[in-house]
């Protein structure tokens, strides 16, 4: 069933038409019976009148409404223009139907006395006409009423279903992961249990969703202080050592990697579409890129890599944090996956209303067949170990999430300077639905 309203309206209007049609048939039948009685009586009276006139022709002998023959001693002494022998002469007295003169007649024959027989007849057509006019008169008001009643039915059904319609409209109008309870101005008793269940479900979902988001964020936050302690203790330990210790360096690197993962988990939970929509504004992309490069510079400088930024006056509807996260991941990845002294070029341009970000590096790049896999969450490139990067694999997933929020695209290509080119295209929409 596609629509309750259409179903109810159709069924009710069809039933109504069916009932009226039935009533019409029934009315037609009773009208037929009534008119038959009426006209038979008329025939009787006419015959009676003729009996009284004793064979004298009545005033209007050529009436098409009535025909008569008066027979005396088997001789036709008077008639209304019909001279042919009626087969009914041979039949008994009373009413019967008969064909003559090109139409069907209702005939009434009475043998008044031994020598006098009178036959009166009336075309059956007359009766049908009478019946029809009677039936039409009775049924017409109902026929007129059908469209009106259909309209009333439609309106009542629509009105009755309006809370349901309102509920579905409200639910359909929800955006993103809006899990707030729904409310109607007046809830019919039938809908109340549905609403209650729905709202209970929304609340539970909302709680679960918040817990999930809070958990990742809380866990990551809680890890920050112990990780700080670990890092400082390792630093103090290393300072106290007189010679280099490979194991200690290993632990220091692992600690850095843990810190990186914790930061990435926080970023992933904080670049949620809900927050994004709430904080949307016009952002200076170049300024954000400058900030990212400034913040990442220590690491880039450590690897003696050359970084440059090209672009002027590029603005985008976004949030500073999401763009920062996007660029931070792209540039940090380029640096991490490129060897010492590599070149990293960041280019930001505005093209046909889109903001196009290129991050090129002169590193080893990614093989064509592996590029699809790279965008998958937790995927880690085999080459990672070679350059001892501290990538957690979450980086590209975060990039993917940010690009999706902007309804943008990301593609991997070969850079003109030899390594990987990551191209991110973000459409510059006025606002996001």
């Amino acid at each position: 069933m596609q629509s309750i309203r259409r179903f109810l309206t159709l069924i009710l209007v069809s039933a109504l038409i069916l009932i009226i049609f039935n009533a019409a048939i029934h009315g037609y039948r009773s009208a037929t019976a009534v008119s038959a009685d009426l006209m038979d009586n008329e025939l009787k009276s006419v015959l009676y009148a003729l009996t009284l006139s004793e064979g004298e022709p009545p005033n209007n002998p050529s009436s098409s409404q009535l025909a008569f023959q008066i027979w005396r001693n088997n001789r036709l002494i008077s008639h209304s223009g019909i001279t042919e022998d009626l087969p009914s002469l041979a039949s008994n007295d009373g009413f019967f139907d008969q064909n003559f003169g090109g139409q069907r007649w209702r005939v009434y024959k009475q043998t008044v006395s031994k020598e006098l027989t009178i036959i009166v007849a009336q075309p059956l057509k007359n009766r049908v006409l009478l019946t029809e006019s009677l039936t039409v008169a009775a049924i017409m008001p109902f026929i007129y009423a059908v469209p009106l009643l259909a309209l009333v039915i439609f309106l009542v059904v629509t009105r009755g279903l309006s809370p349901l319609k309102m509920l579905s409209t409200k639910l359909a109008a929800r955006k993103g992961k809006d899990l707030s309870p729904v409310g109607l101005t007046s809830t019919p008793t039938e809908l109340q249990p549905v609403m209650d269940t729905l709202n209970t479900m929304f609340n539970r979902l909302n709680d679960a969703f918040e817990r999930e988001q809070q958990f990742a964020s809380n866990a990551a936050h809680e890890l920050r202080t112990p990780l700080s302690v670990m890092k400082i203790n390792l630093h103090n330990l290393a300072k106290g050592m007189t010679e280099e210790c490979e194991a200690l360096e290993g632990i220091q690197k692992d600690t850095d990697r843990m810190i990186h993962v914790v930061n990435q988990i926080l970023l992933l939970s904080r670049t949620s579409p809900e927050l994004f929509k709430m904080q949307l504004g016009n952002v200076d992309v170049i300024a954000v890129a400058q900030k990212v490069i400034t913040d990442l510079y220590t690491k880039i400088e450590d690897k003696q890599q050359e970084i440059s930024l090209e672009g002027d006056n590029v603005f985008l509807m976004s949030t500073e944090f999401t763009l920062y996260t996007l660029l931070q991941n792209l540039i940090a990845n380029a640096s991490a996956y490129s060897p010492v002294a590599a070149v990293i070029q960041v280019t930001i341009t505005q093209l046909h209303g889109n903001t196009v970000i290129h991050v090129d590096d002169s590193g080893p790049g990614i093989a064509l067949e592996e590029r699809d896999n790279v965008l998958k969450r937790f995927y880690r490139d085999q080459q990672e170990d070679r350059y001892k990067s501290t990538g957690s694999g979450l980086g590209l997933a975060i990039v993917g999430q940010v690009v999706t929020m902007h309804k943008g695209t990301i593609s991997l290509d070969t850079a003109t300077i030899g390594g990987l080119r990551v191209q991110v295209t973000l459409p510059n929409l006025d606002k996001y639905e």
Partner: protein, 222 residues
């Protein structure tokens, strides 16, 4: 420097104070905001390292009280929170610097050195990078064995870059510093000054990060 460390996490406080003592700082540890407010009154304290997530008083409120009591007290904020708004609030409330946890201890020590030199409490006010040394108090510049004289504004730029060695100084940031020193700033002022500076300094001493700003590599700092 005598540092007041306000950090409620005991293991972190222990590890951090050990590092700071290792770097020849005197450290007083308190674990609560209330104790911090009392300790601030101690005239001996040169600098506060303040954790924002304290159990009794919000770190930002502690910072505001400190500012009322000791107007010029340098404060470095540590926090596990990382929201940009927190950072802005912290700097607005009068923090001198802001380090998100987990931080690099070398980074903290470097920032301490910058504050030390600014306060004039440093054992030496001289920053030496490679063959270049600059006295941040007297603005005496030496390249190798020779003393170099430069216009004041160029020395100021060089000081800003050397104090932040290893970090990028954006053109806008350098411009705003020149403004602070009451200099006229035209659109190409920084480029011109850097150009002049480069002529007097070893090759590649000041690096250009195209599209971002300038930096002096940290190698060989102090």
């Amino acid at each position: 420097m005598r540092i007041l460390l306000v950090e409620d996490d005991k293991p972190l406080s222990d590890a951090l104070s050990r590092s700071l003592r290792e770097a020849n700082h005197a450290v007083d540890c308190v674990f609560r905001g209330k104790d911090a407010l009392n300790a601030v009154l101690d005239e001996q304290t040169d600098l506060i390292i303040l954790d924002l997530g304290l159990p009794d008083i919000d770190g930002l409120d502690v910072l505001k009280s400190v500012r009322r009591k000791r107007k010029s007290m340098p404060v470095i904020i540590l926090t596990a929170r990382d929201k940009t708004t927190d950072k802005i609030l912290g700097l607005d409330a009068g923090a001198d610097d802001y380090l998100p946890k987990p931080f690099d201890i070398e980074e903290l020590l470097a920032r301490l050195r910058v504050i030390e030199r600014r306060q004039g409490t440093a054992a030496t006010s001289i920053i030496a990078i490679n063959t270049v040394s600059l006295d941040t108090q007297t603005l005496d510049l030496r390249v190798g064995e020779t003393t170099v004289t430069l216009p004041r504004r160029e020395l100021m730029l060089l000081k800003a870059l050397m104090e932040n060695a290893g970090r990028i100084q954006s053109k806008q940031k350098l411009e705003s510093r020149l403004y602070e020193w009451g200099e006229e700033v035209a659109s190409n002022t920084i480029e011109v000054h850097i150009h002049h500076l480069r002529k007097k300094l070893p090759e590649n001493f000041i690096k250009t990060i195209r599209g971002v700003g300038y930096s002096i590599p940290q190698s060989g700092t102090q």
